[in-house]
């Protein structure tokens, strides 16, 4: 592994030089004026009126897809004749046709184009992928199916479409593009992605979907797979589709399929982009003047008296305030850069003969962050090879290697964002001597440059070997398949943490005091490795008899995941010059480590598909699953599902009806199944004790080790079970120009593993285990409406998707004596509770007259939040709470409008993504001003706080630190966070020219693309996708990139 990685880095350098060569190409192109299709057509437009031409002409050109890659095998025919040809391996064609005819370019999976010849001799075409194709082959669990025969609910997206999103993380690319996917991009940290849910939440536990890459369940997610490696993504949403993953399918399954080699001469593709990023939005901080004057106001509000000499020193005097007006320090500006760069390059080779096909790809991503010394680099390597040993046996191997390198200063990004808010804007960052100014607290800028580093190296390797042996000597259509896969991930972290210095200087610039921040220099190293082994063996059968189509699968699978972790830390460094363990002494050193057990399961999977006359479709599946998380008696669960489909449009009454002729295809689907969830802590059925060696009680000057028990054991713990129902239809109208898919689902998750902490009295005294106890109903629908058309050589498509998912807790352990707002039964998960705000007290008199002048036992002041006495007991207390919102941070509505145009060489793709019914609760530094005794700065929106001069303020009166009365959840702090944003926009131009062809460049596309370009948002304080309402987080980024695709 180590050797491989080393080579990997060398490859990185090689590839970099390849990039320079390509950049050179680009430069030379810019000074060259190719006669491209565009200019040629303009010229002919002018001449056509005078010179109608009827004799045969030779027309030639190339056909590429919208990433610029040539498409071999495209059929070119002359409308109304039998004249035709096909493109060669380079996507080129040449054909002699009658003048004035119309050429039809068609290829399976792409939208056909009709191009009138007019007077052109060269016609270059960009074919767009057909998004509605009924012939599409869809990857499903342990196999593939034709979309036309599918009875389950599956959303798909092609890798080609994903490549138009200038993001570094695949998880960011599917929200708004796939119906049923709820995606929230919580922060913009380099290397980070979105959190995903399929159809919202269905359990009180982990709601994240199962990730399967090329048939193998993966524990590392899929966000960091290079989009250029991806052939397509399928999302299995209902029981029918997902039940083959039985126990882990309740939250949906995301299947990633990577590209494989295609027969033909080698195609080398390069794609690269470079771009800049900047935050979409970050709340502004108070200026020096705002900070000082509002703090004075806050202290006065609080009862501090400028006339009391013990307190007057807290106030800034008028002359101080004048001095602050120009601003002393804006720590945000000092600490963060305005923009940062990222680049992404990929080189792939694809080709093969009939007997051996290969796809290899090498990718490199480099993303900088909002400050120096934060960076994320990723190297992706893949080789997928298929060999045909003989007519009956195919053997293949998939190799994937990935390295992610992330580096930050000694302090984490979250700390920095937090400290930028915490730093006083009245203190300069640096003395005029250049020495860091002693802020008395922390110094965010120095923390970036002088606090050491924390580097993560994360390597993953996956090797899969599989075979497919047809068994015609037993019976036609029978085959046996087997897969063995080894996955390994290694995380190495090295953190060298050095203290930094700040100085007090006298008027002459001499140091009078040095403050060292960060304690002692320390070095920590952490190593963690996890190995997964997946083995499966299956018997497959697929055959047609007249009108009957039958296929079946029986599969055995086992999956195990184990690992180890080891950490060590040393202090006591003789010097900061050497960041290695040997350079430190023995004091204060710690070592720790443990084995890790992630998973162990054995399963039997079966599936039967039957269709009669392509009209009546049936599918039945089951999975018998055993999980190590449960005791032997409760370990195995069986998860069956069945689904049916009826293609009404194939019925003769349908086809004979004139009125229904506008409908080309119509299918109704329904499915029902039971799927499971076991993602809870293992070993809850045994009474387990942990050993802690350090940090125990100190006795006689020595730290004693101790043991302590874990959760109270539950010997009966077993699977969560979800009864999953889906009904939907697929319809195709107007010769395929319009497609509508609709799904409605209804799920009941029973036996949800839930610890009854809320109802078992604390006097029981022990952490409770998960019990199969709670129940949640969830339902919703999603649709996708696709329109595509071409008018002459102008192609466009449009897709609107919408998802709605809601849920309700139907069994839960509400406490026996609970007040209404404390109960969860009958309510959705994640609802928000708080007080009902009646606005702010506008005068002292109003405050005095409300509830006797007190709320929560504290005297109300003008500018405090006035709360409603919901229980009518004449006082404001914790009982006066209610449900403020039925939805929380997970949006219930997700929609996307995506589309593309292509015209001549140009193409444009966009996605507008949005979410609705989502709330954000402002908290922490998003809500509380002047924390840490007044020394912290605040976000400037909080300056709109109540004072006699600012009576229509949005926020209550200023206060130094939390004022308990106002620091409570209410409508004042709960913001709706629905939004719509132009998530991505991509404009490209495909150049086809002889000049390029002569240099054996078959296709070339240049493009500019952007991510998060515009946002319409209900919340103005933060980015609407912010994961929490504290404000001090790494903000989402807007990207603008320039890119190039080249095919050789």
């Amino acid at each position: 592994m180590k050797k491989l990685l080393y080579r990997f880095e060398v490859d990185g350098k090689l590839r970099l030089s390849a990039f320079y060569v390509l950049a050179g190409f680009l430069l030379s192109l810019s000074s060259f004026n190719p006669v491209n299709a565009n200019d040629a057509s303009k010229m002919s437009d002018r001449t056509i009126l005078n010179m109608p031409v009827l004799e045969d002409v030779v027309v030639k050109g190339t056909v590429v897809d919208n990433s610029g890659a040539p498409i071999p095998g495209v059929t070119i025919s002359v409308q109304g004749t039998t004249i035709g040809t096909a493109t060669d391996l380079d996507g080129a064609y040449s054909l002699s046709v009658p003048g004035g005819s119309t050429l039809v370019f068609s290829f399976i999976g792409f939208i056909s184009q009709h191009v009138p010849l007019e007077n052109k001799s060269e016609i270059n075409i960009v074919l767009l992928e057909d998004m509605t194709s009924l012939d599409e082959v869809v990857v499903v669990g342990y196999g593939t199916q034709k979309r036309v025969n599918m009875t389950g609910s599956v959303a798909t997206i092609s890798g080609n479409e994903l490549q138009h999103v200038p993001t570094n993380n695949l998880t960011n690319a599917i929200g708004g593009r796939m119906p049923g996917v709820i995606a929230v991009n919580g922060n913009g940290r380099p290397g980070s992605g979105s959190s995903l849910q399929i159809r919202g939440s269905s359990t009180l536990n982990n709601n994240s979907p199962l990730i399967v890459v090329d048939g193998i369940v993966r524990s590392d997610g899929f966000g960091n797979i290079d989009p250029n490696e991806v052939e397509n993504i399928s999302i299995l949403k209902d029981a029918s589709a997902a039940a083959v993953y039985g126990a882990r399918a309740a939250n949906g399954v995301i299947l990633i399929t990577t590209k494989r080699g295609k027969t033909g001469k080698p195609t080398i593709s390069y794609s690269g982009m470079m771009g800049i990023q900047q935050p979409t939005q970050y709340p502004k901080l108070m200026s020096s003047y705002e900070y000082a004057s509002i703090r004075n106001q806050a202290l006065r509000n609080q009862g501090y008296d400028p006339a009391n000499p013990t307190q007057s020193g807290l106030f800034y005097q008028d002359e101080d305030l004048e001095r602050f007006k120009p601003g002393i320090t804006d720590w945000y500006q000092e600490t963060f850069k305005k923009k940062s760069v990222q680049s992404h390059h990929n080189l792939s080779v694809n080709g093969g003969t009939e007997n051996i096909k290969y796809f290899t790809s090498l990718g490199y991503l480099d993303q900088d962050g909002m400050y120096d010394n934060i960076n994320f680099k990723r190297y992706n390597l893949r080789a997928n090879i298929d060999t045909k040993i003989n007519d009956n046996l195919n053997v293949g191997v998939n190799i994937e290697g990935r390295q992610e390198l992330s580096g930050t200063p000694g302090w984490d990004a979250n700390t920095l964002f937090n400290l930028v808010v915490r730093s006083s804007p009245l203190k300069p960052a640096y003395h005029s001597s250049g020495r860091p100014f002693n802020t008395t607290g922390e110094h965010p800028v120095e923390m970036i440059y002088s606090s050491g580093y924390s580097n993560n190296k994360y390597n993953i390797f996956q090797g899969t070997l599989f075979f497919d042996q047809k068994l015609p000597f037993i019976t036609e259509g029978l085959s046996v398949r087997g897969t063995g896969s080894y996955y390994s991930e290694q995380l190495f972290n090295k953190t060298f943490f050095t203290p930094y210095e700040m100085y007090d200087e006298d008027a002459e610039g001499n140091i009078i005091n040095t403050k060292i921040v960060g304690g002692e220099t320390s070095l920590s190293q952490q190593f963690q490795e996890i190995n997964n082994i997946t083995l499966n063996l299956s018997l497959n059968y697929s055959r047609s008899f007249e009108n009957h189509e039958l296929s079946g699968l029986l599969l055995y699978e086992q999956y195990g995941s184990k690992g180890n972790t080891f950490t060590a830390r040393k202090q006591n460094f003789a010097t900061n010059a050497k960041d290695e363990f040997f350079a430190s002494g023995p004091a204060n050193q710690t070592i720790n480590g443990s084995g890790i057990l992630n998973d162990a399961r054995r399963s039997l999977v079966g599936r039967l598909n039957y269709s009669y006359d392509s009209k009546y479709l049936f599918e039945g599946t089951f999975r018998y699953d055993g999980s190590y998380r449960f005791p032997a008696e409760e370990r195995f669960g069986i998860f069956p599902a069945a689904s049916v489909g009826w293609r009404i449009s194939e019925e003769s009454f349908f086809q004979n009806s004139e009125a229904l002729h506008f409908i080309n295809s119509f299918k109704i689907r329904a499915s029902k199944g039971l799927i499971g969830n076991d993602r809870v802590n293992a070993f809850q059925f045994v009474d387990a004790f942990g050993i802690t060696a350090g940090s125990g009680p100190i006795v006689g000057g020595q730290a004693l080790p101790y043991v302590s028990y874990g959760v109270y054991p539950n010997p009966n713990i077993t699977w969560e079970k979800q009864n999953n129902n889906n009904i939907g239809f697929d319809a195709l109208f107007l010769e395929g120009k319009l497609e509508l898919e609709f799904d409605y689902f209804y799920r009941v998750t029973k036996d949800i593993l839930w610890s009854r902490e809320r109802s078992v009295p604390g006097t029981f005294g022990r952490a409770l285990p998960n019990e199969n106890y709670a129940e949640v109903e969830s339902k919703g629908f999603e649709f996708s409406l696709t329109h595509q058309n071409n008018v002459k050589d102008f192609n466009y498509n449009l897709r609107l998707i919408g998802s709605f998912a809601s849920n309700e807790v139907t069994q839960i352990d509400d406490p026996a004596n609970a007040l209404d707002f404390q109960t969860q039964l009958g309510r959705p998960m994640g609802f928000r509770v708080g007080y009902h705000s009646l606005g702010l007290f506008q005068s002292q008199e109003e405050a005095k007259n409300w509830m006797g002048g007190y709320q929560f036992g504290q005297e109300s002041l003008a500018g405090d939040i006035k709360y409603a006495d919901l229980d009518n007991d004449g006082q404001i207390s914790f009982q006066d709470q209610k449900i403020l919102s039925h939805y929380g941070s997970t949006p219930r509505i997700m929609f996307g409008l995506s589309g593309g145009f292509s015209w001549k060489g140009f193409d444009l793709n966009y996605l507008i993504q949005g979410a609705g019914q989502r709330t954000l609760l402002m908290s922490g530094s998003g809500r509380i001003m002047f924390r840490n005794g007044g020394s912290n700065n605040n976000f400037s929106y909080l300056a709109d706080s109540w004072s006699p001069e600012n009576k229509d303020a949005e926020y209550p009166l200023a206060w130094v630190d939390s004022r308990a009365m106002n620091d409570r959840n209410s409508e004042i702090w709960l913001k709706k966070a629905g939004y719509a944003r132009l998530k991505s926009l991509d404009l490209g131009y495909t150049i086809n020219s002889n000049w390029l062809n002569q240099r054996s460049i078959q296709g070339m596309r240049i493009y500019v693309s952007g991510l998060n370009l515009f946002t319409w948002s209900q919340i103005k304080e933060f980015d609407p996708e912010a994961e929490t309402g504290t404000g001090d987080y790494y903000p989402q980024q807007r990207n603008i990139s320039l890119g190039l695709n080249l095919t050789f």
Partner: protein
Amino acid sequence: MKPYFKYIFSFCLLSLISCEKGFLDPTNPSAITSEDVWADQNLIEMYVNGLYNDRPGWDYNTFDNITDEARSNYPGNTPNQVLVGQWDEVNNPLGFWVYDRVRRTNEFLARIDETNIDENVKTRLKGEARFLRAFLYFDMVKRYGGVPIIEKPQNLEDDLQVSRNTLEECFAFIERELDQAIGELPEQAPRGKASKGSAMALKGRALLYFASPLYNEADDKGRWQKAAEANKALIDLNKYSLYPDLTTLWLDQGSHPESIFEIQYRLPEKYHSWDALVKPLVIANNDAGQRSPLQELVDAFPMKNGKKITDPGSGFDPKNPYVGRDQRFYAYIGYNGAKMMGTTSGPPVKEITLEIYRGGRDYDADPDTKIYNTVTGYYTLKAVDPNNAIYTGGYGSVQPYIEFRYAEVLLNYAEAQNEYLSSPDASVYDALNEVRARAGITTDVENLNKEEMRELIRNERYVEFAFEHKRYWDIRRWELATTLLNGKRYSGVFAIKEPSGSFIYEYLPIDPQPNVFTDRMYWMPIPQSEIAKNEKLIQNFGW
């Protein structure tokens, strides 16, 4: 069938079938089982070690800043919220509903008898667990009054809706358990572990509380008598004595005559923040000035001659208020002109002379940093390690938290005995004078009536145990908290430096808002979440 296919096929099948047997029954790599624990003497000892972790030690900054002892400088932090009455049944930073810790002791006591370990060890461990459990119950009862007594680990099938026992039942349980622990515990134990004396000291404290006005509504004199006897028994053990030096009392890690039970610390495993929080900014590392002694406390320290500063002939000079006080004053209080040691960033430490006056470095020279300096005009020296050079924020201090020290036993005894008798006897004077003599007071107390003696003992506890997290509980059990706190604003000193170099001292209120302590606060509310879960738990009056 082609031959190689047979090989591949059988190889694959074999590899699947021959997988390890316990594939679905792996051993948990990060835990041991209950059976392992109760079969091994070392592990059983380690279980009891864990119980000691449940004992709180130095408090961050709450308990000393919510009475008439000191103030924290951060306006919105916990102690300042508590001072203005911002705590309740939902959010109670003073709460202690610790049945999880109780259960750990219960599980031990329920299983230890079946184990096969050395009998002497078994007896000692039982004594330790019993002492720790009684201590947990005492800490709950002093807050909430009667609480449910749970002595055996419950099963989920049991009736979990338990009722509160009465206050009397709880104190009786605590006393009974401690009597048993006194019999089980050894005379000698390493510092940090419980000995016979530890259990006796807890018994003395518990019975003193039980006799005090808050817990003794009927004013049962017999309770005072029992409290006096319990403390006397420990005095008569003749094992403990007062440590001579008040500045190193908390720093001496050797054998300690005064420490009866303590929580120890050691870097890097376990530490607290005592040294870091109390210093002025110029020698502080991040946190600073979070425990500023109030003028009222400063005024409570007697003169070296034993007189109150207000007594005629005390010799107190308002122009030089810090001259001629007892040794505790100098050991505990950092006043304008006093010396204090510390560092902003690691060794070496430097000594500064405190400049606490208008425009002074350690007071209000800069409105930006005033917040890090004293709010009262004083700093805390008590128990601070002057040579500690590595404190920062919540880190770096290791002096033990002495939970029971002999001075408390003496003053417990003096108080109980004085309350029991109609007028104090010689033993009361002896106990009191012993404590005062250690503080360098040159004259013994004489000729006081019962009420005068009560006042003096209370004042003695006020100064002797300042910042030892005891005052808050004392003023509650004496039912003085409403009088001392509610509606009151406490004071600090404001010093002005004269051109001559001398100072003018002014005393001004420093609490921005009046303090709140209402009657219902004497009994803390049982956590609302517990009331919601258990219909049989009756909430305390007023909540």
